[in-house]
């Protein structure tokens, strides 16, 4: 399947004229992408391309990174009338450097398809983009971010937590949270045995090693929200009985990756650790009273394009995530 690309001016009329020449296409969603970080531009465009190749979607990339040349690129399915492809994606990439907010909103309202959900992937890091961000909110169905996309510290998560507190009505997705699903499954696995349920309520320490803060804070927030813990300091929870649980996070390894998790109960230590031989495999074992021989689990490393896919395909709000985010926010103080 070959797509056709043409370069036109950034005027809305010129882009619409270029799009009108395409064959009938079917869209399942509008995918709007905002980029203002030159360092991550190519990475984001590549992932966006992967998603739009798989889905009959309308993709609109608003590139404010200053790295393109004052033009718009319109990519469509082949216009050959004999082509048998009836469903394909359309992609419009616009250099929006210097455009005012009204113009940017005009691109979104003027180009996106009606009657299908609109997902905004906001990868903005620039404070000057704030006005644009808020102007876009009324136009979208779901907001997608990556709180550990470009930073190891907790900046992204802090901003997200503040935004969520301010706008709880916006359906949110965070790729940093979504990457944790295999770890959550593994931690839950420790306590599927009904005889070990009591152990969950005697946890006294939680240690997480990860390359960026979001992952550790999310896992801590998730456990806290599920088990009724309350954050009393950045490194301490108390459980429902008033007992203290210490929370230790080591920033180590690659950004966006969890290396190990350890939960200490009053009787046992529950460990999960990425193996040295294969970083897609986790060794899981238990020491102490409930000792269990090491077992290996596939980490199900999910590529970013697939994460994006999940984020845009899952409709509505994600209560589990939002609860964990609020809980993580209490750790941030």
């Amino acid at each position: 399947m070959s797509l056709e690309s043409s370069t036109v001016s950034t005027s809305l009329e010129a882009i619409r004229a270029e799009l009108s020449g395409t064959k009938l296409s079917t869209s399942t969603l509008n995918f709007v992408v905002w980029i203002d970080d030159p360092a991550r531009r190519d990475w984001i465009v590549e992932r966006t391309g992967m998603l739009s190749e798989k889905h009959p979607s309308f993709t609109l990339i608003l590139d404010n990174s200053g790295s393109c040349a004052g033009a718009a690129t319109v990519t469509t399915s082949p216009r050959d009338p004999n082509s048998t492809i009836t469903v394909d994606s359309e992609r419009v990439e616009i250099d929006v450097c210097g455009k005012d907010t009204a113009t940017l909103v005009g691109y979104v309202t003027g180009l996106t398809k009606t009657n299908v959900p609109t997902v905004l992937w906001w990868s903005g890091i620039n404070e000057n983009s704030r006005e644009t961000f808020y102007a876009m909110l009324p136009l979208i169905t779901t907001l997608l971010v990556d709180s550990s996309g470009g930073t190891r510290d907790d900046t992204g998560l802090r901003m997200l937590a503040a935004f969520h507190a301010e706008h709880p009505e916006v359906a949110l997705r965070d790729l940093a949270w979504m990457r944790l699903r295999p770890w959550q499954d593994m931690i839950a696995n420790f306590f599927d045995d009904p005889n070990l349920l009591g152990e969950l309520f005697s946890i006294r320490a939680l240690q997480i090693a990860s390359g960026s803060d979001s992952e550790a804070l999310y896992l801590g927030g998730w456990l806290a929200s599920r088990l009724g813990w309350t954050a009393t300091a950045q490194d301490t929870f108390t459980d429902r009985a008033g007992k203290t649980i210490t929370f230790e996070h080591k920033r180590v390894g690659d950004i966006r990756r969890v290396l190990s998790v350890c939960l200490d109960s009053e009787t046992s230590w529950y460990h999960g650790e990425v193996t040295e031989d294969d970083d897609a495999v986790v060794r899981v074992w238990v020491e102490g009273e409930h000792a269990r021989e090491p077992q290996l689990f596939p980490l199900q490393a999910i590529d970013n394009a697939s994460l994006l896919e999940r984020a845009v395909l899952e409709p509505g709000t994600d209560e589990l995530f939002e609860t964990a985010l609020r809980s993580a926010a209490t750790l941030l103080g």
């Binding site: 798989k54 469903v87 499954d185 599927d192 193996t275 589990l320």
Partner: protein, 519 residues
Amino acid sequence: VATTTATPGGVSANPLRKGLAVDRIADPCNVVFFGATGDLMKRMLMPAMWNLRLEDILPANYGIVGFSRADDDDDKFRDQMKKAVDEFSRTGPAKDPLWSDFTKHLSYVSGTFDDTNCFHKLRERLEKNDEELGTGGNRLFYLSTPPSVFAQIVDQLDAAGLGPRDNAKGWTRIIIEKPFGTDLDSARALQAEVSKVFDEKLIYRIDHYLGKEPVQDIMALRFANIIFEPIWNRRYVDSVQITAAETVGVELRGGYYDNAGALRDMIQNHVMNLLALVAMEPPVASDADSIRDEKFKVLRAVRPIDRLRVTLDTARGQYDAGSIAGKPVPGYREEPDVRPDSNTETYAAVKLWIDNWRWADVPFYLRTGKRLAHKNSEIAIRFRSLPHRLFGDYGDNFDNNVLVMKIQPEEGISLRFNAKVPGPKMHIRSVSMDFNYGTGFGVVSAPAYERLIGDAMRGDATLFTRWDAVETAWQIVMPVLDRWLNTVDESFPNYSAGSQGPPSADRMIAMDDREWRKI
């Protein structure tokens, strides 16, 4: 008879599971495969178990036990399974260290199905697994053997204390491969044997067609959309065609197939299940029994085929030599293990009527065959003609609207409708609007066996066939089967490999002024 379906407490009691995909994780359990060195095990079942492991659908505590006549041991069995996974798994060759970890859960019991001692050995193995692997007494038996030994295996399980009534610790379920019986009497006899040991809720009769994504989407299309259900009835539907066409011949299954034929191999199970899904009433809920109640009700409403009408309402065929995709292929009677004067049909077409309010007077045409022009499984709903042709003066070719649910190899939905040809005059032409799963969702469907084994481990019987439906399906086909078994079709072989099927099938549908969709 015990009907335990889940470990008390278990996964669902774990507060950390809330909001995670609980349905992805089964209870700790042992899965025992009878016929563990057979072709199905190597091609489908073991790759499915491996991929369930990779997808994290297996619980942390699981055991996989192979049982077969071959005089193998654990290590040899593991080696064989590694080769099978390397060759047939959709995820490619198995890699260490995960495979080495997986093999710790694999074991093998060598034995014959008539030797009770071997089943005692199996019991010892399962008890050892409960102790060492933490499998909690839960057991899933998978009969991947010739149907002739199904009853014997069930008897032996009971005799060795491996039946549900002897398992106080956990649940015991059984998966039975098709065919469930070779006719109505044998199916009833088998059911009588199996039900002595297993309650119906513990029996999972597998029809891998039901595990295919597009088959499950039939219900989504019908009951998750408002626009189709109002026209899904005799008022708007002219006829329904269900097709399961294959290009392959009998391959290495000549011995089995020559005693089965297309009617028993496909129509009685796969195609009948499709008929039930497309024609059933909306279930009151999405649980297994609500859906299976409706499937049973619609099968019960199928009008029995009058013995005197068998020749009019059915067609049978047997393929001759021909060519598939430009390559010459032999005729059925030249295939290995097939009798040279075989009277077995490799093609079957049946016209059925459903006597209820929704479908009165709407014919359902079912057909299946081997060595046809293309591989194509689909359900086509043909709607009635327009009541008045407003644009008929120009001699345009108006087609009836057709909604096609494509099952394989393409997976999707297609709607044919009429549109104006651009230009000054009102010329009308039929066009097609296609939805394809591959591009629509961008995900690859997991093979049916993965879905179905995972469901059985979780105790979800929705996609398995209940006895009342099996029995009714046999009742529907028995008049045809009796007739075909007792009369020699002198025209055999009557269609060339690579063709659309026998002329008798065309004549059958032509009597109703209709024609088959092109395969």
